[in-house]
Amino acid sequence: MNDMVVKIEDLYKYFDGRCVLNGVNLSVPRGCIYGLLGRNGTGKTTIIRILLGLEPATRGATELLGAESNRLTARQRGKIGYVAEGHHLIQNYKVGKLAQLCKNLANQWDQKFFDHLMSTFRLPMDRKIKKLSAGMRAQLNLALAMAINPELLIMDDPTLGLDTIARRQFLELAIDLIQKEGRTILFCSHILSDVERIADRIGILRAGKILVDCSLEELKRRIKKLRFIFADKAPSQLHLNEIINQQSSGREMILTVANWNQQKQAFMETFGPASCSEIALSLEDIFIEC
């Protein structure tokens, strides 16, 4: 049985001749919280929009819940919750009217959970969407997406505009959702501490390609940042594979390297370093290094 909830194969996207996605391959298994990272303009939102069928791909195939993105039926769409960047809801609707619309269109609707979220977020039902703050719109968008009890929740920078408490509530909700059997979350965020907290698999986009696609533990295991102190001057050039970053200053060399192993360690020892110590890396450090 194919248990990949999200599948992207050889995806290309050009905007006015500019390549934004350059052969992206990505799979998200059922029950996974996948954090998609990348700097501004690397194509995270474009990937999500193509997955949801809002944007056509230039080339390649994308699937959600086993169906082609541009052929998703209403029923299949009803199993996908989406929290959009900027939270563009229907601006001239009141909160209550929008909730009613979403409820009437949904395959299933958990009114009790929705009411709970509305009271947790303290969202007024009688206020127009355009009168809500960005943070309130984000919370409403999240509540609407969660109330349909989605099999797959896709979130594009969902915590943007949320204060610290609301962000914490959001993360707890995401964890609650994932604890329900078989739920999957795909999200991108610029707040890497959030990603580190809930994601169990990470993808890093750079120059339109997936540079890293592995579990968080594996990522931390694979990428090492080492400080070497040499007796004399640090070597200026190293002929070593998979160096991510290298900085030398006097006797000190800071080296960030992928897939650190015994061979690489033996190679470094040929330069006779006086000491070698590992610098702990957070996800944010890894992201910046990459």
Binding site: L72, R77, I90, L105
Partner: protein
Amino acid sequence: MLIKREIEALAVYMLLPLVLALVVIALVISSETFARSNYRQLGVSSGVVLSFWGISGFLSLYFAGIGSYQSYTDRNAKVSTFLCTLATTRHQIFAAKTIAAVVYILIVLILLAGAYVILLMILPSRPVLLNPSGLLGRMIFTAFWAHLAGYGLGLLLGWNQGRIIPTFGPLLLSIVILCMILIKGFSLSAGVVLMLAAAAALGRAWQKFSTMPLQ
């Protein structure tokens, strides 16, 4: 549910043609009453009938404007983008828009036809001029397709970037439609041509809406 949403969304813009249709009915009745009491039946009636045709023509332009405005605001307010992320498809959203427009066109035409029928009933001589062999049926048939073609063209042009094409495009194309009605009259052949124009405009609008990126 989507159809209800579209009908509600269009309701404000439909007030004008509905009020206009009601004004025509009131005008017909009052002018005929006046004409009967003053023994000047045909003079007043002809004026009313002329304004009746004028309103029908104006409505084609109006529906084109509504179609254009609807897609222009839809694109800017990202309404369809939001709806597409719920349990709906683009085809359903487009079908709901079209059905809502058809409902309003029919309401307006029924009201106008009602005014026309009242006119025929009130006039004691019931002149042949006002209903030569099924004119009412042909008029409704032609006007329906003219209004729907106008709406389809409006929808199609409203998705263009910028403001000039969404604003003036439907106006120009609706004038072409109106010129055709003026030349050919409310005839069956004019109705068929307009039906084809409406099908082409709506078909192209549907194709465009189904494939274009929703921002």
